[in-house]
Subunit: 299 residues, 2 copies
Amino acid sequence: MAIVECIPNISEGRRQEVLDACAHAISQTGVRLLDVKPDPSHNRTVYTFAGEPAAVRLAVLALFDTALPAIDLRQHTGEHPRMGAVDVVPFVPIEGVTMTDCANMAREIGAAVAARHHLPVFLYEEAASTPARRNLEDVRRGEFEGLAKKMSSADWQPDFGPGQPHASAGASAIGARMPLIAYNINLATNRLDVAKKIATAVRHSSGGLRFVKAMGIELGDRDIVQVSMNLTNYEKTPVFRVFELVKREAARYGVTVLESEIVGLIPQAALTASAAWYLQLDGFTGGQILENKLRGSAD
Amino acid sequence: MAIVECIPNISEGRRQEVLDACAHAISQTGVRLLDVKPDPSHNRTVYTFAGEPAAVRLAVLALFDTALPAIDLRQHTGEHPRMGAVDVVPFVPIEGVTMTDCANMAREIGAAVAARHHLPVFLYEEAASTPARRNLEDVRRGEFEGLAKKMSSADWQPDFGPGQPHASAGASAIGARMPLIAYNINLATNRLDVAKKIATAVRHSSGGLRFVKAMGIELGDRDIVQVSMNLTNYEKTPVFRVFELVKREAARYGVTVLESEIVGLIPQAALTASAAWYLQLDGFTGGQILENKLRGSAD
C-alpha cells in the first residue's frame, strides 16, 4: 500500500461555504480528509488529507477546480504571506512511496493544473528545479501584490504555466517535503529574552540545527515563554536532539523546561527514534514493534 | 477490528516434523503466525500468532489436536520447567479487545480443550479463579513429575477437566496477560556481583518495581554483564522507569550503561510512552501519531 499525505493551504479562512465546498471536493475522490484548520485572522485554511497517489492526485485537481473560481486575491486580506488562491500544495511520503515519487507527483500535477487553469506554478523544496526555489519563503517573497514585478525577472519564470500571474488566483507553489513536526517547548520563566536567545541558538537560519525553524514567544495567559518550532526533517534533525539542546541552552540562563508539546500529528518513527535514543536501545528496528509486525510492514 | 495475540509454549523443541505440524495447524485457521522459536536444550517451542478472536480460538483448538497425540511427557527431558505437552497458552489483548475479553477466551477455550481431550486445565494470571493461581510459577511448581501428587490436594483441583493428570500430556495452563517485554540492559563492567545487586534492587520479588522480573548474567563473549528482565505490565511499570532505575543503581557502583535491547517485540504504546516521558510531552495522545490517524484508530 502506498500513502501520500497532502496539506494544501488556500487563501480563504472566513467564508464557510467556500471551505465546505473545498472539503467536499477533496473528500469525494476517496482520500481520507484528516483535518481542516481555518484561520479567520490569517484568512487562510489548511487541509490535511492522505491516500493512494492516484486518489490524492484527483483530490488536488478537484480542489483547484473548486477554489480558483471562488477566491479572488485582489479582494483578499489576512496576516499570513500568500501569493495564490491555492497558495501551497506539498506532497509528503508516508508509506510505500519515496521522496522522489512525491517530487514526481508535484511535477506532474503542477503541469496539469497550470495547463488547465492558465496558472503559473512554481515547484519548491524537494521538487524544486533550482536551489533558489527550494525555500517556500523565497518563492513567495513579494506575495500576490508583488508577483507581476517579480515574474518580470528571468529568474522567476514559473516551472509551468504563463509568464504572468493569474489575475485573481496569482500563482501556486507545489512541492514535496518531509512530514513537518510542530514542536513547542515551554520554559519555567516569563523572560521573553531567554526564549528568543534559545530560538536563535537552535534554529538553522542563525547557526543552529539544520532542520529547525524557531522563535521565542510569550504565553501571556500562563505568564511563561515558549520556544515555538517547526522541525522540517525529523530523520536528520531528530526531536530528542532538539529537546536536549533547548534544555541545555535554557540551563545556561538558570531556566528549566516545564514541558513540551506536539501540535497536530507526528510520524510514529519520530517517537520511536526518541525512545530508542533515550533508552540507549541497540539494534532496534521498526519490525520489532508489535503492531508493525501484525500489519506485516517495516521489517 | 479486534486482535488477540496468543503465545503457546509446547514441550517439544527437537523433532522438526512435530514443530512443522503444529505450525501448520495454527496457520491454516487464518491467524498470522508471527514467530516460531524452538529451543532444543529446553526441548520447548514458543509459537507467536495473532488474529481475530474467532480465528485464534480455532488455532488453539487445532494446536491441541496436533500436539497432544505427538508429545509424551513421560519421555520428555529438557531444562525448562513444564507440566504439559501444551504447557502454557496465554491470550494477550492487542487491539479492540479488553483484558476481560481475553480472560473470557481463556475460560471458554480452557473448558473446550478439557472436555475434548480429558485434560486438566488450570486458569492463570488475569484468568485465574483464585489469587493463588495467578502466578504461572506457582501453578507449574512440581512440574509434570509431581503433578499427580500436587493434584491430590483439594487446593489444586483443575478449573476444568479430570482431577488427575493426563497420562502423556499432563495438564495445561491457559490464561490472559498483558504483552510481555523482554528487556536487557548491558553494563560497562564485567562484575557479575553488580548486575546481580541491580537485579535484586529493581525486581518485584525482592522489593523492586511491581511488574519487573530480573536477573544478573554474564555475557562472557563480550566480557560484560547484563541485567536481563521481563516487564510484565508496561502500562503500570513503564520501560523508561526501569531503565532510569537500573542506570541509577549502576551509578552507585561507578558503573555506566553501555546500551539496552528489546528482545523480540514491543507494543508501540510502550515506546510512545517512553518518548513522551523523556521529551516531557504534555497532553500527548495516540491520536496524534500520523499512522494511527490514517488508520482511524486510537483517538
